[in-house]
């Protein structure tokens, strides 16, 4: 048997050209999972049998000469907050333990139609609230590069799965950085597309106006490939932009000659020195590749954290109210319905989820709406306006993804604010609805990887992938 390629694109080509079967590819990754999963805990559920059936079906199609999709035979892991019909979907919460959705998320439908083979559901911070995956009700996921450290969050499981070689690609969701930050901490590529380009139908909502689904991959080209497959208008999602799927793979190879790339001169500080150095190195690399580096300012960027931590919990407090023990999920018995609600939700939600629900409820409540939620919505517009002004001068912007490399377990759990500060560079793009991606670029303290974030304006994925691809090439010494 030919060696199983390590990239999704390579696998797709190899399976389509019958150099290797989908089943062989799958067994290769299942073996990797067997070898290290107990150490990493990337998965809530490995769907080995179902995956084998899917792989066999694809092999049968190929053998019979029937047409298969662009991802035929490519294994993929899905963050466990995306509904998979008949397959347990828990959001890493006790309140959904054992719940099997009666429907598929749109991204799942599209991946299946493309022939991807779902290997399992990955661990996350409960309901996608967190930056370390320590908030999972089922135990944390460990960073494959150093298992005493966090993989980041909230999509820690999906990031670890790719970084550990359990799957060539995976999907995560990003509300304030939950794809990009784990990508940076695990040394892989992570993409948050423009808000509205990937359907949220079937993604368990955390913050409706901020959530987006996106891919993890070991390389930029794979990230482009997956983004192409999952993007495009969906009539089941009213916030879905009425555009066809994104076209990106060419952009990833195009280079940055003639592009203007922004350096934010008033970026909030606090990044580790190696991270600052990596950013400078990244600018140097892009300059060498033919881009012009332009200074820009984003004067209100430092307020983004506050705006986010008022808007997201507010929306979440409402989105999570449906978990009441009536129709699905955990129910704690009680004498009356009202008591049942209180007991069920207290037992089913972890501390961080409860904290954010209360913060959000407070921010929306009578007498506080204007001061908190109302104001945060205005700050959001100010930040979007700042970006708009900057993008008059540049095509893309570079910042660090995370101010720190992967930290040790327990470092930040007792101080919510310090955990929230992990997202300081990623949050602004969610507020503005813009795309951003993290590309690995060097190592920092303790040898842990550093991620550089490429930001672009809404629907600016082409520019973003040009820069991401160039950074990757520079890193590889091409």
């Amino acid at each position: 048997m030919a060696a199983v390629p390590s990239t999704a694109a390579g696998i797709a080509d190899a399976v389509a050209s019958k150099q290797v079967t989908a089943r062989e590819v799958l067994e290769h990754f299942l073996a990797a999972i067997d070898a290290r999963e107990s150490e990493i805990n990337a998965f809530n559920l490995v769907t080995a049998d179902a995956a084998r059936a899917q792989a066999d079906a694809i092999d049968a199609d190929i053998a019979a000469g029937r047409p298969v999709g662009p991802l035929a035979g490519v294994p993929i892991a899905l963050k466990d907050n995306m509904c998979t019909h008949g397959v347990e979907t828990t959001c890493s919460s006790r309140i959904l333990q054992g719940w099997k959705p009666p429907y598929d998320a749109t991204v799942v439908t599209r991946l299946r139609a493309a022939g991807a083979v779902v290997v399992g559901k990955t661990n996350l911070d409960e309901f996608a609230m967190g930056s370390s995956t320590e908030n999972s009700a089922f135990g944390p996921t460990r960073n494959p590069l150093d298992t005493s450290r966090v993989p980041g969050g909230s999509s820690g499981g999906s990031a670890a799965a790719v970084a550990a070689g359990f799957s060539p690609v995976s999907l995560g969701s990003d509300t304030g950085g939950s794809i990009r930050q784990p990508a940076a901490l695990c040394g892989i590529v992570g993409v948050k597309p423009t808000y509205g380009t990937v359907s949220r139908f079937g993604l368990v909502a955390y913050a409706s106006s901020l959530d987006q689904i996106g891919p993890f991959a070991t390389n930029v080209d794979d990230a482009a490939l997956i983004t192409e497959v999952i993007s495009g208008h969906d009539s089941n999602d009213s916030t879905s932009i009425p555009n066809p799927p994104l076209q990106l793979r060419g952009a990833a190879r195009e280079g940055v000659k003639g592009m203007r790339i922004g350096r934010v001169t008033d970026l909030p500080g606090g990044a580790e020195p190696e991270v600052e150095k990596a950013l400078n190195d990244a600018f140097d690399a892009l300059r060498a590749a033919g881009a012009e580096i332009v200074d820009v300012t984003l004067p209100s960027l430092s307020y983004a954290l506050t705006a986010y931590y008022l808007i997201a919990p507010a929306e979440a407090s409402s989105n999570l109210a449906r978990f009441d023990g009536v129709r699905y999920g955990l129910r704690v018995g009680a004498a009356d319905t009202n008591a049942m609600y209180g007991a069920t939700r207290a037992a089913g939600f972890g501390d961080e989820v409860q904290r954010r629900i209360m913060l959000g409820t407070y921010a929306l409540s009578a007498g506080y709406y204007d001061a908190y939620y109302g104001k945060a919505l205005k700050v959001r517009r100010v930040i979007a306006d700042d970006f708009a002004k900057a993008y008059e001068k540049v095509d893309a912007i570079l910042t660090p993804t995370s101010p720190v490399v992967a930290f040790k377990f327990g470092d930040k759990v007792d101080d919510p604010m310090s955990m929230y500060l992990c997202d300081i560079y990623t949050i602004p793009t969610n507020l503005a609805g813009h795309p951003a991606m993290s590309v690995p670029f060097g190592n920092g303290a303790h040898g842990m990887p550093i991620g550089i974030q490429v930001l672009a304006p809404a629907l600016g994925e082409q520019a973003m992938f040009r820069v991401g691809g160039a950074l990757e090439s520079a890193r590889a010494g091409k």
Binding site: T89, A205, S238, S318, V326, L364
Partner: protein
């Protein structure tokens, strides 16, 4: 907000309640829209199906579900807005957050400060104008049944069962200004609103079936003083109950105030069997709905083109239909026959009979008497009824005979009036024969005739009775009366 911004309508002297109290009533009416599917998802909007069959991820508020707005529901909401003289405006949706088992998301998608329809009015048939503050879109809840208690109500039940078929059905909530001053006006408003909403095809608006629900906000005060504290009355299931509930509640509040008490702002439940309102269980914390703009939906801006098209296609409103019948028959638009015919949607049928050569007045009377059930198209061909009206008008049949023939035509779904009459041996007597019988009756009872000629209308009965007996019922009573009057001079 000062009372005058709420309402500037003042009760007339005779509208004040005993003791000089002015009644202030505002009505909140919810109508279920006649769409095929729900407001935010494609499950059927259908009554009476097996429980929990018209369900989808949105209806059940499954994790990951997202709402998508039903275009036809918007169109029907616009029809309602135009029929109520509202301004249709760009609008958004809000979430109203509260916990209840039949509310699957624990929030209702509704409209808050920017509704689709605002600032309209409804003119009561009696002429009074009632302001309509807003008519907005929102989704309905599921339905709970309570098991184990004595009355099937929540209080004392052992548990409840929830059916989500109704969850997500589109509603328009129509909120009147507190311009209503009598319970009669309230009933008139509810009846006219029902007729309007049904006439434009927006809803079948049946209170008894729950497709139209009326809640009344009631308060009392002495004119010249600030408005009183109001109570909301729920569970009113008919127009008649609405009147009774308002009357009861007004009297209850007056009694409380006159005996030195104060009215507590609360929601009260109307018990039609007992004829009283009582407090629903008091809540611990006033619910804070934490309204915020619905992030899963985008703004709605119908635009002038769509508004103009809806306006152009709007069916005639009840007031127009009543006016049409008035022009056709000469009847007052407030007369019972006209109101009933329009309410039941029979106005076009009456016109069809007239168009087929029938006598319009008789057509109106026959239709409203013979077709008691609502139904725009009774299945009897208009021409058949037209022929019958002509026979009666021309004196070939008496009114009583015509009624009998009509009953048979209706029962058979049609028929040849003349043939049926002939088969029954009906024929009206011609007028000269009736005249002769009248003269014979006068001669036979000179006392009665003398009294009748002196102005005692009741004395006519004896004469008429003799003529009817002699003619074996074939004489037309109206013809007899006409002859007697002309004899009297």
């Amino acid at each position: 907000m000062s009372d005058s911004t709420l309402s500037s309508v003042k009760a007339t002297e005779d509208q004040l309640l005993e003791g000089g109290w002015e009644l202030i009533v505002g009505l909140e009416v919810h109508v279920e829209l006649a769409t095929r599917t729900k407001l935010f998802s494609g499950s059927p909007n259908r009554f009476g199906d097996e429980p929990n069959t018209n369900i989808d991820p949105v209806t059940l508020a499954l994790p990951g579900a997202l709402p998508v707005l039903n275009k036809h529901a918007v169109e029907l909401a616009m029809r309602i807005g135009l029929a109520l003289n509202c301004r249709i405006q760009p609008c958004i949706f809000h979430r109203k957050n509260y916990f209840y088992p039949d509310m699957p998301k624990a929030y209702q998608i509704s409209q808050y400060d920017i509704p689709i329809n605002a600032d309209g009015h409804l003119d009561l048939p009696s002429g009074v104008r009632i302001g309509v503050e807003r008519a907005h879109l929102e989704e309905d809840t599921g339905k709970s049944t309570h098991v184990g208690g004595a009355t099937g109500r929540i209080h004392g039940s052992d548990y409840s069962l929830i059916d989500f078929n109704r969850a997500g059905v589109p509603l328009v909530e129509i909120v009147s200004r507190p311009d209503i001053r009598t319970s009669e006006q309230a009933k008139e408003y509810a009846a006219e609103l029902r007729a309007i909403v049904a006439a434009i095809g927006a809803s079948d608006a049946k209170m008894e079936e729950g497709s139209m629900r009326v809640d009344a906000n009631v308060s009392v005060h002495k004119p010249g003083t600030p408005f009183g504290t109001r109570c909301e009355i729920k569970n009113v299931n008919s127009i008649r109950a609405l009147g009774r509930a308002i009357d009861y509640e007004a009297r209850r509040q007056i009694d409380v105030i006159e005996s030195g008490g104060t009215i507590r702002q609360e929601t009260r439940h109307w018990d039609d069997a007992e004829g009283r309102t009582h407090t629903l269980r008091a809540k611990e914390d006033a619910d804070d709905y934490r309204y915020f703009p619905e992030p899963d939906l985008v703004p709605l801006d119908p635009g002038q083109e769509w508004i103009d098209r809806v306006r152009a296609e709007l069916p005639p409103l009840p007031a127009e239909r009543r006016a049409m019948l008035q022009a056709l028959t000469g009847y007052d638009p407030q007369s019972e026959a006209v109101i009933v015919a329009v309410e039941r949607g029979q106005h076009d049928y009456v016109k069809a009979i007239a168009d087929a050569g029938g006598d319009p007045v008789r057509a109106l009377i026959y239709v409203t008497q013979a077709f008691a059930e609502a139904g725009e198209s009774p299945s009897v061909p208009p021409a058949d009824i037209a022929a019958l009206t002509v026979l009666e008008r021309d004196g070939k049949l008496s009114a009583t005979q015509a009624k009998t023939v009509l009953a048979e035509i209706v029962a058979n779904g049609g028929g040849d009036a003349a043939a049926i009459a002939a088969a029954k041996g009906f024929e009206a007597m011609d007028n000269s024969a009736v005249e002769a019988m009248v003269d014979e009756a006068i001669a036979a009872d000179p006392d009665a005739w003398a009294k009748y000629c002196a102005g005692e209308e009741k004395a006519a009965g004896a004469i008429v009775g003799r003529v009817m007996k002699a003619s074996k019922g074939k004489a037309d009573g109206k013809v007899v009366s006409a002859i007697m009057q002309s004899r009297r001079g």
